[in-house]
């Protein structure tokens, strides 16, 4: 077969890598955006409603914490299967790239919530107390003190989250999705074409490196604490 003989650098394969890269970026960017859309409010609620937070609320904190913990403790492969009915209801199909985004976001959002929570908790109690002494509302403390003060840490968290999300993307292959990871699994695992697996894996490593570096650089340049 033509396919079987194709080398890792044939024109056809190059096109496939390019396409895979785009799909991977699509997964990572969309999932990161939606996860942060859910994760920032959830992380803020977890931090603020904590017993040492600015608006303690034990029932809310415990409930949300439990949901986050349950979702985080289910292995991703299993979650992928578990949420299939939900995927069908939301997307209209259980297969394909968009179908894969549903479990990916459900898995990433709780992770992001915990990252946001831990970044916000790094903001010193003294600074928050000072803001309270000046008559800040809790909303002002969240938006003008906690989040801006935690910005460098939030950016580091985002770099870690993106890398983690990228690490999940090869499993798209299980629901018929694409991406660099899926290429590596399909060619390497099912067809023993190791050279293609290596090339697509290396491309993913490069992608992780770029994202990590950019994230860290942004975090450093935004940090006014150490100069």
């Amino acid at each position: 077969m033509n396919e079987y003989l194709s080398s890792a650098f044939s024109t056809a394969m190059l096109g496939e890598y390019g396409n895979g890269l785009l799909v991977t970026l699509y997964f990572v960017i969309l999932c990161t955006l939606v996860s942060y859309l859910i994760g920032i409010p959830a992380g803020v609620i977890l931090c603020v409603s904590d017993k040492d937070g600015i608006h303690p609320n034990a029932p809310l904190n415990k409930t949300l914490g439990l949901v986050v913990n349950i979702l985080r403790s289910i292995p991703f492969v299993i979650l992928l299967v578990l949420v299939l009915p939900l995927t069908k209801a939301l997307i209209g199909t259980k297969v394909g790239d968009n179908a894969f985004l549903v479990p990916l976001i459900i898995s990433a959002a709780p992770f992001v919530a915990r990252m946001v929570e831990s970044s916000l908790k790094e903001v010193g109690h003294g600074v928050i107390e000072a803001a309270q002494s000046m008559g800040s509302t809790n909303w002002q403390i969240i938006t003008k003190v906690m989040i801006p003060e935690a910005k460098p840490s939030l950016l580091v968290g985002a770099a870690i989250s993106i890398t983690t999300i990228l690490g999940y993307t090869p499993l798209a292959t299980l629901v018929g999705g694409g991406g660099l990871g899926a290429i590596a699994v399909q060619y390497g695992l099912y067809r023993f074409q190791n050279d293609i697996m290596y090339v697509s894996s290396i491309l993913m490593v490069i992608l992780v490196q770029i994202m990590q570096e950019v994230g860290m650089k942004l975090a450093r340049s935004s940090d006014k604490r150490a100069r």
């Binding site: 107390e129 000072a130 008559g135 604490r225």
Partner: protein, 341 residues
């Protein structure tokens, strides 16, 4: 020093208590506190760590809600205010802290603008006022500096400018100089005094350092084990401490003179006279006496002497009278006391 203080009361604390319910049961942080602070005065609260003084200052702006009792500021009972009204009241009560608590991601200007920003002052007006304030605290050239680029003293100056942004009537200082070296402490205390004189802001200072009280406070309350054990004019308490804790704070090393048999002693208080003047040697020469120095604890800060000395008085009453006349002449405070056993 007390000429700026009027008799008008600005803060009244009535039967205030604070109890924490911790894992180890109830902890009484404050018990039956009663205080009346006059408009325009600098009032000190001194105590050892854990005495409850930081909790007390936090009760004044309701950062800590008292378990019982009332705090009345300018006739407003804080416990009667709604949440929103309380936030507005806090805008008129400045506060500075031991650790400065500046926003690390904002520069000096941004920090001073913060209280105005949350109060809805326009950006242009806030900037203008922030520049004035930074100028007043001597940092007009550091407006763009971030806290990490400033020294402790500069950070506290920014914090002071920030606390004054909304023209507060009251400034609360929680161990504001405890993280600073002696020279910087001195300059911050002078700044606070200057603010008190120029703007008439009432200042409430909580500290564990007697020198802070000595230097700028007119009245002081000594707090120990959750309650006030002594209160009055600083000079009076300095010359004549009643409580054990006040004596401990005035004699930091616990060197209360004891066990010299015989006559009485004279405690002489130096509260800022020129260090160049040899007070004791002159006294010896002018009064034709010899004295025995039993205890001395003085320090010279920016050319002025602060502290005290205990001398053993001669038996001869005319010599004693000469010494007292000499001290009276120079307006030096003293107090005759019997020798301790």
């Amino acid at each position: 020093m007390s000429e700026s203080a009027s008799e008008k009361e600005i803060i009244r604390i009535e039967n205030l208590s604070k109890v924490y319910h911790g894992a180890a049961g109830e902890v009484v942080a404050l018990k039956d506190i009663n205080l009346s602070i006059r408009e325009g005065e600098i009032f000190g609260i001194i105590g050892l760590s854990g005495a409850g003084k930081s909790t007390l200052v936090r009760c004044v702006n309701y950062l800590e809600r008292p378990t019982s009792g009332r705090v009345i500021i300018e006739g407003n009972d804080l416990s009667a205010l709604s949440n929103r009204e309380l936030l507005r009241a806090r805008q008129k009560i400045g506060m500075i802290f031991q650790e400065f608590n500046l926003l690390s991601q904002r520069n000096a200007m941004g920090n001073v603008c913060y209280p105005m920003e949350i109060a809805g002052v326009s950006r242009a007006d806030a900037k203008k006022r922030a520049l004035e304030l930074l100028n007043m605290v001597g940092l007009s050239n550091r407006a763009k500096a971030y806290p990490s680029q400033m020294s402790g003293g500069q950070k506290q100056r920014v914090a002071i400018a920030r606390a004054l942004a909304m023209n507060p009537k009251v400034l609360l200082c929680d161990e504001a100089t405890s993280a600073l070296d002696p020279t910087t402490t001195q300059s911050i205390l002078e700044l606070l005094q200057d603010i008190n004189h120029r703007l008439g802001v009432t200042i409430l200072i909580v500290t564990h350092e007697m020198r802070v009280i000595e230097q700028i406070c007119q009245r002081v309350a000594v707090i120990d084990q959750s309650h006030i054990v002594e209160m009055g004019d600083v000079k009076e308490i300095f010359v004549h401490p009643q409580s054990t804790i006040a004596k401990q704070l005035i004699f930091p090393q616990g060197q209360v003179p004891t066990s010299i048999a015989g006559n009485s002693t004279l405690r002489i208080v130096f509260d800022g006279m020129s260090a160049l003047e040899p007070i004791i040697s002159k006294m010896v020469l002018e009064c034709h006496i010899t004295v025995n120095i039993l205890y001395a604890h003085t320090k010279v800060v920016e050319g002025k002497t602060f502290g005290q000395m205990v001398i053993r008085l001669p038996e001869d009453q005319t010599s004693v009278a000469r010494i007292k006349a000499y001290l009276n002449d120079r307006k030096i405070y003293y107090k005759e006391e019997p020798l301790h056993e």
